[in-house]
């Protein structure tokens, strides 16, 4: 598929990125080139090959459900740009009509 500015803007939205106009131009050209290069993978017949997601196979690791020390509420909130009491504070997510 041809990479257009619309595609880059749409994907940037999915990735929650705002882009400057010159960045949209730049990424449109560069992504087109990179994806052309990646398309070389289609030369390979991979019918019936299982994909590898991790180089070393491992099973789900379980542990006993025991209470252990953790960094706690203050440790968790210490780096927050904004907090209120014991919560992270964010802009309104759901508009409430008065």
């Amino acid at each position: 598929m041809k990479i257009t500015k619309d595609v880059v803007e749409y994907v940037a939205h999915l990735g929650r990125l705002e882009l400057e106009p010159d960045e949209v131009e730049l990424y449109t050209t560069q992504l087109g080139r990179i994806l052309d290069y990646v398309d070389a993978l289609n030369k390979l017949d991979t019918e019936g090959i299982e994909p590898t997601s991790h180089a070393v196979p491992f099973d789900s690791v379980m542990r006993e459900d025991e209470v252990r020390d953790s960094i706690g509420i203050d440790g968790s909130l210490r780096n927050a740009p904004e907090r209120k009491e014991t919560f992270f504070k964010v802009p309104p997510i759901i508009e409430v009509e008065e």
């Binding site: 999915l14 929650r16 882009l19 740009p81």
Partner: protein
Amino acid sequence: MERILDMTIQEVRGLLREKEISSVELTGFYLERIKKHDGSLLAYLRVTEEEALEMARNADLRMGQGEDGPLLGIPFGIKDIFCTKGIETTCASRILEGFIPPYDATVIKKLKNCSFVHLGRLNMDEFAMGSSTENSAFQTTKNPWDLSRIPGGSSGGSASAVAGGLCAAALGTDTGGSIRQPAGLCGAVGMKPTYGRVSRYGLIAFASSLDQIGPLTRNVSDCAVVMNAIAGYDPMDSTSIPQPVPDYTEFLGRDIKGMKIGIPREYFIEGMDEDVKKAVKESLAVFEHQGASLVDISLPHTEYAVATYYVICTAEASSNLARYDGVKYGLRVDGKDIIDMYKKTRLKGFGKEVKRRIILGTYVLSSGYYDAYYRKAGKVRTLMRRDFDEAFKVCDIIATAVSPTTAFKAGEKVDDPLTMYLSDIFTIPVNLAGLPALSVPCGFDGNGLPIGLQIIGRPLDEGRIMQAAYVIEKERAVKKIPDTLRS
């Protein structure tokens, strides 16, 4: 004190043990060197002088009480990607500026248990994405052998600091070559262990199925000593391998008679420097002379490695970097609603390469393209693993160049991402297959720039890799530390 630069950590430990020097003096020596030379190398993002001296005093106290240990009182530089309690950790990104981790990464905890000394935080490409440190939001590190050239990346600060003598050893991370390539370009020893050998708990994630932590050191002996300290199972990392860790120092000095060394025919490519080829071939002759035999092997899917890698690593990165949303830590830029706040925060907080990779990764994972790109790359990854499985039926280790060229000039490739990506062609396949590999200095080119030999092994065969690397180090006797940084 300058003689310390030519000693192994084990030898320096001897001086500390005999009370010929103290850890405070040793730490002071490196702090002085940082003051003198880091203005030109720019390897450190932040020097933690106070913490360093406190840790050194503590180490001296312990030694006074008769304690001993392989890294007791030894000063390290730390790539700025490992969460370290109470010490700002930024990943060389504006989005994490001011982030003070509330806990230690397992590798940091392990070094603290050895009573190491934390000299400071080393520069890197932002979120470890890059091959030159030019993607750092703060500064571009210089190559100690030629200040107009890059040190490689992403662990470029680590390689420059080690090769320039601004720390005894450093920690780095390697996702597609980020330890081995800068080690090779700066003339340091750099090891990427088997995936799962070193716990990634507390490592700021880039591509979780590829990332691995390892040491950068001035010699193979130090590599073994640091590996002894950081390797091993960790219940906090579900990909950690529950296998005992051998004493890697025991492999050093063993002969390599009868060892079979695979030479992949796909690894002498067009566009490769003649000097690099020559140094690699001379190193292979050393192996033969020491009783090993060379075996012609093929890794037929090598040409697809870079394409496979850039699909997988960007997909994983786009997912991992979703956490930088201006809520929990780091930068927040206000917006008209929460989505706008996310977007503006990420616009201001991320650099160009990071955004490029998030966009590419989001694209290859998006509905309609997942099978064509992400799933396809996963299948090719299987073929590449099989290439190595086949090769290791006829050889014990594989030897190649680390990079096709020596260090390039700053600015030369930064605007051409694809060319930059291709400079990692020899290191990337190793991460896709999860194998251990090491870069050891094996010569210089006509401009006096270091050349690295890459040695790749079977899973968990780090010891044999170091055994072979030690032979190269002894026989090639490559100079460490440029004369300009001697004083």
